[in-house]
Amino acid sequence: MFPEYDVIVVGAGHAGCEAAAAAANMGSKVLLITMNMQTIAQMSCNPAMGGVAKGQIVREIDALGGQSGLISDRTMIQFRMLNRSKGPAMWSPRCQSDRMLFALDWRQTLEDITLVDFWQDTVKEILIKDGKIRGVKTSLGIEISSKAVVLTNGTFLNGLIHIGEKNFGGGRTGEKAATGITEQLVTLGFETGRMKTGTPPRVDGRSLDYSRMEEQPGDENPGKFSYKETPRLTKQRSCWITYTNTKVHEILKTGFDKSPMFSGRIKGLGPRYCPSVEDKINRFADKDRHQIFVEPEGWTTVEVYVNGFSTSLPEDIQYKAMKEIPGFENVRMFRPGYAIEYDYFPPTQLKLTLETHLIEHLYFAGQINGTTGYEEAACQGLMAGVNAHLKINEQNPLILKRSEAYIGVLIDDLVNKGTEEPYRMFTSRAEYRTLLRQDNADIRLTEKSAALGLADEERLSLVKHKIDQTEKLVEELSREKVFPEEVNDLLAEFETSPIREKTSLLQLLKRPQLTMDHIKRIKPSMASWLESLSTDALEQGEIHIKYDSYIEKERLMVEKMNRMEDLMIVQNFNYDSVSALSFEGREKLKKTRPQTIGQASRISGVSPSDISVLMIHIGR
């Protein structure tokens, strides 16, 4: 009934969809197995993509030739560039999505890829021969062969949903959990653990009084995620901000004795930075209010997402408490909030390609690795799909460095440090943040991906054009000079100090008070040429000119650190033969099997002196 596949992807969430699309776009024959064809690419939590650090990841996925950016652009209902007031490394694109359109667009995108087949079923076990994957077996008892398998099970592995004192098996509300895989992987020698996450109630937008809330509209000139030519929004929907208060908190507290969190029924560790509302009022008792973002779920639906009110208290308590929130006096609930516990596999069991150490050609991506967030899942799926394809074709893997991409930071952190709580990306996790900006993901990654056959010609020529234009821009601005008598009046008008001698436009643009628009007025003869350049190139050039010294400082640091990253350790290195290694260091090294000295130095438990010993032992 089935041919032999190159790659089977189990699960069709953000990770699974990217994995299937990437492997197939590179030429692999892919089978995507999902428990329900109607729920491909669900946004299980909030209807939004991007945000601080996450928006950068979406840009990186796009630069590599992934789909999340394109689909987000086509299905967004609002766009905001967060952190505009901060430096360019902090600018973070975020959109509100139409939840249903997003899922629909993903399904259509996958259907358009001829090398992707679909099968609705539940995978019960993986099939192994000589320590290597040979396929999967489903709940219908069907064995399907493949060279590689990517597991992206999300919250479905032994998923357990809690609402108050009630709990029941499920992978999402209204959907079955998946059993069998965890048990099999444990017998194969995998370690496993439990994690917890939660989601807020969804309510009827027709029952809310928005006049009592503060409007949060989209950007006046909305941006987008993809570096490709995707349409910009011409109309947008607003979000709304309101606050909890002490009355709300008091009502919530009456449910604490029934809370699965506080009663100890939930064993898994939840994300500290994404706490439930009961967690917030419990841990931060001194705060008498917490912010609530009211987010529309689409262009036309009246369903509304109550961001900031994640809870697993009994539904009647949820309802009563919400009614005390300004604007929510007459609220009608569509679905209650809930908490969900699920199995994950500590990611220290993976290689940097996301392949497991234990079983060859088996890859893990997404929440199964202990992460949280659509963006984190999607980028892992992409990397797992790409690396599965490369491995079965005996090509070199794609491993992104910490200095190259947030994706590199994410995977490096997971593999080397593991995670005890759901891992979310922050800009502070990236030590080379100044280099990993949303404006230059294409410059950082597209060429690399195109060389592998993933990013297409169009992307490659777009980024080359952008680089050319940027270089030309910087060159012209450093060559064009202006005289004091010519510009000092204008400079005074722009509230910046006058110049004393002939000065280049580049020097002027370095001033914090001046932007490219000012330059156009300072040198009107260049205005039309400047306007002929793409906005991307103008932005890129301006950032490079303005923040040159910081970028350079960071680049030097990378250069210094990269020497360690270039020192390879052979994969079968015998750590037991090195007597000088500390006991703990040796154990951790044996487990993680780092590929470079740089990676070894980031493993917790490996000391600086272990690193010196290793450096002596790796012959080059």
Binding site: F284, H290, F293, T427, S428, A580, S604, S612, I616, G619
Partner: protein, 457 residues
């Protein structure tokens, strides 16, 4: 196996001969630009133009101060121990001189080598085969363990505690900034920029005494440098001899080889003192001039403690002239000599000398020497009691870099730059502090963010 290639890294320096005192010490500098670096202080042939494997005589001078006469051996890549460009400086075997030279190299761009780093570079550039390398591996780990312990031991008294507190404060500061960056959209309260500035100022106040203490800490280890300043025939040598003779525990650096010893060392109540420029140092090479002003100034600059010696109104005026340019933080003692002579035992009035640190002695008749010693000791004890002391050059180096990074933060605050760039310099400061305490930055930051603040969404 990959073909070995020569990789030249940033210049590092260290003492290559055994620490302690020998007639000669060798300092090794290796890495990109190390020849150019040494050449900047080397007065003799232009080292950048000489052939590899040649030895050159010259003097090392830093900021117009003569440090020593040395031999410099130039090794050009790949024909050196590390296979990088290297210079070996043979200088006189005084710890003091070695420190001065290392300090000079570090202040101009070299970095103190980590234990075994030369060997490591040599290995990485294919100097050793694996068997040889394995043989030195144990040695190197032992080295770094010991040096780590030593480093911790050297965090004496309040230093270690101070440093940890400092780091904690800085991490708190950094996490406020990071919080602002990662959760700026949300309902989080941040410290004001003014508070942050206060915090940095406070950090500066903590770091600077530590940096300043280095010369004193160094002095504790090497001997506290003391200069005896005075006009000819005022009794400098007599005083020194009196101090040295009276004290039976005379420490000359190597018994019987006084010719190679630059200074005389004296232990008072377990405290080591080093008298600068008082005997033997290339006396014959110096141009003899009435006051030896230049030499006196130099001695005063190097000294932590200055004894101004005079025996008349005339000689008092002369030392007062010299004292005018003296750094006010320097400790000094006014010593009136020859009080055994009847016509000399008068009190001279003078503006500068009316300080409390006045002692009247007769070096020749050995009068007042005990009082002088107790005044000397009191000066040192005062400093030792109030300051925490940094003795390790590597620590000193990282404190300097921490301070420089903090300066950048302050500049950034003044210029109103955004948090992400402030954070970049704060991370750098934390990185350098971490190099001393051996801890990693980013994990601490996140842990701190989560432990202290309520974060939305």
């Amino acid at each position: 196996m990959e073909k070995p290639f020569i990789q030249q890294q940033e210049p590092i320096c260290a003492l290559a001969t055994a620490s302690g005192v020998g007639a000669i010490a060798v300092i090794r500098v290796s890495g990109i630009g190390s020849v150019e670096l040494v050449n900047r202080f080397f007065y003799g042939k232009d080292l950048t133009k000489v052939k590899s494997h040649t030895v050159h005589f010259g003097t090392l001078q830093y900021k117009s101060l003569l440090i020593d006469e040395v031999l410099a051996t130039v090794f050009r890549s790949p024909k050196s121990f590390t296979k990088e460009d290297s210079v070996e400086i043979s200088c006189h075997g005084s710890d003091y001189i070695v420190r001065q030279i290392l300090k000079m190299l570090v202040s101009e761009g070299a970095r103190m080598a980590k234990p075994g780093e030369f060997t490591q570079r040599a290995f990485l550039n294919g100097q050793f085969d694996l068997v040889q390398a394995e043989a030195v591996a144990d040695l190197i780990t032992a080295d770094s363990d010991v040096s780590h312990r030593t480093a911790l031991n050297q965090l004496r008294g309040g230093f270690s505690k101070k440093l940890y507190l400092l780091r904690e404060e800085l991490i708190h500061f950094a996490s406020l900034i990071e919080l602002e960056l990662d959760f700026g959209e949300e309902d989080v309260e941040f410290a004001q920029r003014d508070d942050l500035r206060q915090l940095i100022m406070h950090l500066h106040q903590t770091i600077h005494p530590l940096i300043d203490s280095f010369s004193f800490g160094n002095a504790l280890k090497e001997g506290i440098p003391v200069a005896i300043i005075g006009s000819p025939n005022v009794g400098k040598s007599t005083l020194l001899n009196a101090l040295l003779n009276e004290e039976k525990a005379i420490v000359t650096e190597i018994a019987g080889t006084t010719r190679d010893v630059i200074e005389d060392t004296l232990v008072l109540e377990g405290m080591k003192f080093r008298f600068i420029d008082t005997a033997g140092i290339r006396e014959t090479l110096d141009v003899v001039e009435s006051m030896g002003i230049e030499r006196s100034r130099r001695a005063m600059e190097q000294a932590d403690l200055v004894l101004f010696l005079y025996d008349s109104e005339q000689t008092l005026r002369e030392v007062e002239q010299l004292a005018k340019g003296l750094n006010t933080e320097k400790k000094y003692i006014w010593v009136q000599n020859k009080i055994d002579l009847p016509d000399q035992n008068s009190t001279f009035t003078s503006e500068v000398s009316s300080s409390e640190n006045q002692v009247k002695i007769s070096a020749h008749a050995q009068i007042g020497l005990d009082e002088l010693k107790s005044v000397i000791l009191a000066q040192v004890h005062q400093q030792a009691a109030t300051d925490t002391v940094v003795t390790n050059l590597r620590h000193y180096e990282h404190l300097l870099k921490t301070s420089a990074a903090l300066d950048e933060v302050l500049n950034g605050l003044d210029a109103g730059i955004t948090g992400d760039f402030l954070a970049q310099d704060i991370r750098l400061a934390l990185f350098h502090l971490g190099e001393i305490t051996g801890t990693i930055v980013s994990d601490d930051l996140l842990a701190n963010i989560f432990s202290k603040f309520c974060i939305g969404k």
